[in-house]
């Protein structure tokens, strides 16, 4: 078998080096394991094929790994996996590099220098686990068990981190979600009683605002929207940037940032004043049409045009076209909604237009979650610790925060303040807030305020770089994981699972094992007294033939009802109807219907910074992948030519970009693909960790510049409230 790598050495050489216990090499990478043989002439006959599930983003697409001599040669899509419509994207194809990349963490590392100095030494797993147990004990005794915080990414084993946290006794669990989608979740939950899944394949008309589905892929939405458009569906995109989605759309409007609510309220105004809304649906299934009619009266298209920079006649036409296509028409709910301080209310305005179109639970509209039938696994009874504080550290700081999700932003502020109680321990798994959370300086300060930080990942992320103890995780292709339920509207209600396709490299371990081992050391072994197989058996207990289907096809489908799920049922809201007027909000002193406030002017030479993904990077977890880094080796600051000219900035010039949170140096991309008042840069560059050798020293870090405002209802990070100044760097 050939062993080739641009920065690598042979397997034999690796084994020699691995035995040498060189601590310095641990951070810098440079040592690689076996390599796929493609460079030496492709896959030879005799390979085996094994199902797995992609982990390059949150979508969890089923895939087939082609394995030869114990090495993954290639990843292919699973044609039987309908949620991705048999697709595996560029990131998915590059997953091989996650396993064999030179920068894999290989063994546990203990910090020996100052935090952030990058000096670590290799220790054994036993030493690492003993150290963790000792710190869980010490911090729990000194600060209560809530003094240890947990954060886990979107991963099929994250459930075990939450299980450990609950058994240990900490309420302080966080996820990436409060930097992503919580505001949208809240808005749709508080309108429809649940978060919808758009039925893209059968839709006839989509207004997509603040989403970029042809670059930031969501399955099956991205593929289904393309098919729907081939079948004649119309796509209208509102985005301050000319994204790939905008490029593929029938119509693109470069909406002024933070004015989407004005557009939606004007659409509602037209639908109501011109009697275009679904009166039968609204009368039977919604609550508050009288209040809404009165509420949207002043929000005319002429008024909205002033706000959004979209002509009134276009807004009026779009409203009429939406109504003509309804109920197979929608305002796309979107996913990442961590934009503004009133993002929940902005997304409520999206939800309300959908309700007026009567598209809920109907073909081409918004569908409810289908029955999958996957069980919760092995139940447990976590103890209760009487000496614990009453609630989470961030409790009560946002009106309707989800108690199991919390708010990274508000939790970070509370840790820094030390109130209402100290939090001094932090366990992170498969997540990297140093790059994904706005205001990196505050994240650094929070980590510096901790007594013990543990990060488990596959590479030395910036968060790992700041940790006291770094644990090498197995990649998704080396792991056995629990089953995972998936929703895909017309595509599926299905289950996927992972078994290892190759043996794990180095000393990497799954987080389940780590939690089990530490629990055992803390006398909590009873909460992890099972195997993954036993856990999966319990999950699948209600699904006859479930395991057989998973082994045969890589996916289990439940042919459950798709449309009309709510016939004869209540909506899970306070009024038990779809709430145009939110009665709970009214009781709580919140605006029961979205009230528009114009964005504050940013001033001369100040621009709003927006975030966004493209199809080859996922926040910060994939930039260092050598295959993907070839497509996006660095990032640039997108700036409009008009503004660039004023600032004497030419394409490719070095510029500084500065906000009240921080400053970065970056090359400019002068382009008409953004508005004059809006700048953009890709996430995940400007890293601190030299352990990310493919991107270290490249580009700038958006998290250093983004300011950390928050959505007042959910605590969701409000990243687009960032005003920046840009200037040409002195020669």
């Amino acid at each position: 078998m050939a062993q080739t790598s641009s920065r690598g050495i042979s397997r034999r050489g690796f084994l020699k080096l691995a035995g040498a216990a060189g601590a310095a090499a641990a951070v810098g990478g440079g040592v690689t394991g076996p390599r796929p043989a493609q460079a030496a002439g492709g896959i030879k006959p005799g390979f085996t094929s094994k199902y797995s599930v992609c982990d390059m983003c949150f979508n969890k697409c089923s895939l087939i790994a082609r394995v030869q001599d114990g090495v993954i040669q290639k990843l292919d899509p699973n044609p039987k996996f309908l949620k991705s419509r048999g697709m595996l994207c560029a990131k998915g194809n590059a997953g091989v590099e996650q396993v064999y990349g030179a920068d894999r963490l290989k063994y546990p590392l203990l910090r020996v220098g100052e935090r952030g100095e990058g000096k670590f030494k290799r220790i054994s797993w036993d030493q690492a686990l003993d150290l963790m147990a000792a710190n869980f004990k010490k911090i729990g005794e000194q600060y209560t068990r809530c003094g240890f915080m947990f954060m886990a990414g979107s991963d099929m084993q994250s459930t075990f981190v939450h299980r450990f946290a609950e058994a240990y006794g900490s309420y302080n669990t966080l996820s990436h979600e409060s930097m992503c989608l919580i505001a949208g979740t809240r808005a749709f939950l508080d309108t429809f009683g649940e978060v919808p899944i758009p039925d893209m394949l059968y839709t006839k008309y989509v207004v997509m605002a603040g989403a970029n589905r042809f670059e930031s892929l969501v399955t099956p939405d991205s593929m289904d929207l393309m098919t729907a458009m081939k079948n004649g569906a119309k796509l209208v995109v509102l985005d301050p940037r000319y994204t790939k989605t905008a490029a593929k759309a029938d119509e693109w409007f470069a909406i002024k940032p933070r004015t989407d609510m004005a557009f939606m309220l004007a659409i509602a105004h037209v639908l109501i004043t011109e009697n275009l809304y679904d009166k039968k649906f609204v009368a039977a299934k919604t609550y508050g049409i009288e209040q809404l009619t009165k509420h949207v009266k002043p929000y005319t298209p002429q008024w909205a045009a002033e706000q959004c920079d979209i002509p009134a006649e276009e807004i009026q036409r779009i409203a009429r076209e939406l109504a003509a296509a309804a109920p197979a028409a929608m305002v796309y709910p979107g996913r990442r909604s961590s934009n503004y301080t009133d993002s929940t209310q902005i997304r409520r305005s999206y939800a309300i237009v959908n309700a007026l179109l009567g598209n809920w639970d109907r073909p081409g509209g918004l569908t409810a979650a289908r029955v999958v039938g996957l069980g919760g696994g092995i139940p447990f009874e976590a103890p209760f610790y009487e000496d614990n504080p009453e609630d989470r550290i961030d409790a009560g700081k946002a009106t309707l925060m989800f108690p199991e999700e919390g708010s990274f932003k508000l939790a970070r502020d509370a840790v820094l303040e030390g109130k209402p109680y100290p939090v001094k321990g932090f366990f992170l798994y498969h997540t990297n807030p140093m790059q994904t959370a706005a205001n990196r300086s505050k994240t650094v300060a929070m980590l510096n305020s901790m007594e013990f930080v543990v990060t488990m990942d596959i590479h030395m992320s910036d968060t790992a770089y700041m940790a006291d103890l770094v644990l090498p995780s197995q990649t998704y292709l080396e792991r056995q994981d629990p089953c995972s339920a998936q929703q895909g509207s017309s595509a599926c209600a299905c289950v996927v699972m992972r078994d290892p396709v190759v043996a794990p490299l180095y000393e990497s371990k799954p987080v389940f094992w780590v939690m089990q081992q530490v629990a055992g050391r803390l006398g909590m072994g009873e909460y992890f007294d099972f195997t993954i197989e036993q856990f999966r058996d319990k999950q699948l207990a209600g699904l006859t033939g479930g395991m057989d289907a998973l082994k045969r096809d890589g996916v289990y489908y439940n042919p459950s009802k798709l449309y009309g799920v709510y016939e004869g049922k209540i909506y899970k809201t306070k009024s038990h109807k779809i709430e145009l007027f939110n009665s709970r909000y009214a009781e709580m002193g919140l605006e029961p219907m979205p009230v528009y406030t114009p964005p504050k002017p940013g001033g001369f030479a100040r621009m709003r910074m927006v975030v966004g993904r493209n199809a080859v990077i996922t926040q910060s977890s994939s930039q260092n992948n050598a295959l993907l880094a070839k497509f996006q080796p660095t990032n640039h600051l997108w700036i409009h030519p008009e503004r660039a000219q004023e600032l004497d900035i030419k394409d490719g010039d070095w510029v500084w970009v500065k906000s009240k949170a921080g400053k970065q140096r970056i090359k400019a991309k002068v382009t008409y693909e953004t508005r004059p008042d809006t700048v953009y840069m890709a996430t995940g560059f400007g890293v601190l960790s030299p352990g990310l050798a493919n991107i270290y020293g490249k580009g700038a870090c958006i998290a250093q510049v983004l300011t950390d405002e928050f959505d007042s209802i959910t605590g969701n990070m409000a990243m687009h409230e960032t005003w920046v100044r840009v200037g040409k760097e002195a020669a």
């Binding site: 103890p383 209540i570 038990h576």
Partner: protein
């Protein structure tokens, strides 16, 4: 026997008085402790393939939980309820009512 019945009735009426206050205050107990107590005391039977119907907070609306708790002495497991302290019932109510299917934060898992 009569003496025991009287004690049970007295306890029930005591719980009832406390509970009416709890219900009126909209679930002001400790929801996190309630989750623990619910798992310990109720889920023993109210579990998949258990002695009683499988239950979780999202099995009922907030109004239905309120009705259930108000009429606890009529439930088949009333005797089990009688063993609980007033504060414990208030906490269990805070958990079930607070994460009911029409609550702002419905429980995620069954």
């Amino acid at each position: 026997m009569l003496k025991r019945t009287i004690v049970v009735l007295l306890v029930l009426s005591f719980i009832g008085a406390g509970l009416s206050l709890a219900l009126a205050s909209g679930g002001k107990g400790n929801s996190r402790k309630g989750k623990y107590l619910y798992r310990k005391n109720c889920r023993v039977c109210h579990v998949q393939n258990g002695k009683a119907k499988e239950l979780s907070p999202i099995s009922k609306t907030q109004a239905q939980w309120k009705t259930t708790f108000a009429a606890q002495d009529k439930l088949p497991c009333a005797a089990e309820w009688a063993k609980l302290k007033e504060k414990d019932i208030t906490d269990i109510y805070a958990y079930l009512w607070g994460h009911a299917k029409d609550s702002p934060s419905p429980a995620k898992c069954k």
